[in-house]
Amino acid sequence: MDAKNIVISAQDLTKQFGDFTAVDQITFEVYGGEIFGFLGANGAGKTTAMRMLCGLSKPSGGKASVAGFDIYREPEQIKRNIGYMSQKFSLYEDLTIKENIQFFGGIYGLSDRVLKEKSTDLIQQLGLAEHAHTLVGSLPLGWKQKLAFSVAIIHQPSIVFLDEPTGGVDPITRRQFWDLIYEAADQGITIFVTTHYMDEAEYCNRISMMVDGKIAALDSPTALKQEFAAETMDDVFFQLARQAKRKSD
């Protein structure tokens, strides 16, 4: 991991909805190739922060750049260089696995030849060969999520944003999902992932904890556990979350 290579940087990034400050002047950096965990209780502002970085939401203040591009001035370049997987499982359920891969690959401008190769590889890798022509809607949730992740990185983005990607699946599937994440990280894709599963936090290289729209702590899981004299990330989270004034939803 190259610590000098900054792929995401945010400075005093702020988002207000009327009187409510969802994200309050957060400042952080994400390095190339790392798995960066973005943690916080529900309503702490993680999703909002992530959406600003992806160009889904306009910041109210502050500066940020993603993959070397400014989020105000160059959102189109950013879009070309990132992948995104949302909380809601998001593939087309009425299309087959193959059609989904071809559609999402296609809108990222992959050529037919590359697309064909990729989709065959991907289906092989996920062990879905005999289901290539199955409608996605009929797959189990765990498979859908793995597929959604693979589709999110089909265009080899430099960064992929995952918004609570493992919500609602069993621990084994979650573990398998993280294997996929590691594989992607090995290929040099930076992973920016929000979660509120503390066991997942342990898998990250570095994590930031958001409380009430602010970043309360940012370091590697080991360092954080030392700092808070805690056994597990759960304890770290409880200590930090207890400071929260904002009610979670």
């Binding site: 939401s57 189109e76 995104y84 998001s90 087309y92 299309l95 559609f103 296609g106 809108i107 401008g109």
Partner: protein, 368 residues
């Protein structure tokens, strides 16, 4: 451009995989045409009437035959007196009684004036006036032929001419209205629902994060529905011409052109609706309410605009289907060319352009 085609292909897949959508696309127009064309027609067929012929002469016979062959009536001849008329009506199924007085032919030949008593059961005023108007038109047709060659024109009843629709066929009124209704409903419903569905399922976010231009997304979404609507239009036209005997006197090309404008108008309305709704149900409800009511009330195909208060007539001007209705009637029935309908077309195009611009502008590029 390639992205665009990939997207269009995906939209077509959505349509063809969803039975509900297909049903709505093709079932709706067929159901509407059948409903409006046959069930809800204001044309009255096979109405039972009683003819009481005191004259029993040549002229009365001819006129009765003429009435009897009309498909509006089933004639029963019966000699009844004035007292019995009421009891005939009270039995319920007879709606009209025609009484030929004595000396009908002689009056007609010698004094050029003959009387014919037409008594209608006006407990249903609409039926009564429609039936009497059928009788008057048959009568006036009869007298012209009867007196052909004679210089003196007899005056029995006011001459009624039904221009373009001498048989008072209901289809001529309903078909253009149904066309407007179906095109609007299908397009608005389909576009708004298909966009809102992507919002609901979360795929819209993925699209917005992707390098796809939002404008491309909109246009690619609209294209399948545009073509499907044209197919729809063809189905409606075929059904109305071959099933409902609707005339098609004008240029087909012009009709498709104007319809395309209405479809565009509907697509942009659907887009607007999708901007303000978050769930498919809401989108459906708004589309139905916003399209069905104004079209039915203000396009003039159910309720004549001329009878409305001025304020409502002004409101009607803002309803695109009103203009489309006028244009379609002019093209199909009167067979006019573009020069006669350019004003209405201009208004419709203006509305479409306005809605298109507003909906493009309102389409949210960023989610919040």
């Amino acid at each position: 451009m390639k992205q665009f085609f990939i997207f269009v292909r995906k939209e077509f897949l959505h349509v063809f995989r969803d039975n509900k959508t297909l049903l709505m696309l093709f079932g709706l127009p067929i159901a509407q045409i059948v409903l409006f064309g046959f069930a809800l027609t204001n044309e009255i067929k096979d109405s039972k009437i009683v003819i009481c012929d005191y004259a029993q002469d040549n002229a009365s016979r001819q006129l009765i035959d003429k009435i009897a062959v009309s498909r509006n009536f089933i004639v029963k001849e019966q000699m009844i007196d004035q007292q019995q008329i009421k009891s005939v009506f009270q039995q319920g199924d007879v709606k009209l009684v025609v009484v030929f007085p004595n000396n009908f032919e002689q009056d007609l030949l010698h004094s050029n004036q003959a009387q014919l008593q037409v008594i209608a059961d006006a407990s249903d005023p609409n039926t009564a006036s429609t039936l009497t108007s059928y009788i008057s038109s048959i009568t006036s047709d009869f007298q012209q032929n009867f007196n052909a060659g004679n210089q003196m024109q007899p005056i029995i009843s006011p001459e009624i001419r039904m221009l373009y629709n001498p048989e008072l066929k209901g289809a001529t009124n309903f078909v253009p209205g149904v066309m407007a209704l179906v095109l609007l409903l299908v397009c608005v419903l389909m576009t708004s629902v298909s966009i809102v569905r992507e919002k609901e399922k979360g795929t819209m976010e993925i699209l917005l994060v992707s390098p796809m231009n939002p404008l491309t997304v909109i246009i690619a979404k609209a294209i399948p529905y545009f073509f499907l609507s044209l197919i729809n239009l063809t189905v409606i036209l075929l059904m109305s011409v071959f099933l409902l005997d609707m005339p098609m006197n004008g240029s087909l090309l012009l009709l498709y052109l104007v319809s395309s404008i209405l479809i565009l108008c509907a697509l942009s309305l659907g887009l607007l609706i999708s901007n303000v709704t978050e769930s498919q149900q809401a989108a459906m409800l708004i589309s139905l309410m916003a399209m069905l009511l104004p079209t039915v009330l203000f396009s003039g195909f159910m309720f004549p605009l001329e009878n409305m208060p001025v304020a409502l007539q002004v409101v009607a001007n803002a309803v695109p289907s009103k203009w489309y209705y006028i244009i379609v009637k002019s093209i199909m029935i009167k067979g006019v060319g573009f020069l006669s309908i350019w004003k209405e077309t201009l208004v419709l195009s203006g509305m479409t352009l306005f809605l298109l611009l507003v909906s493009f502008k309102k389409f949210k590029i960023r989610l919040q």
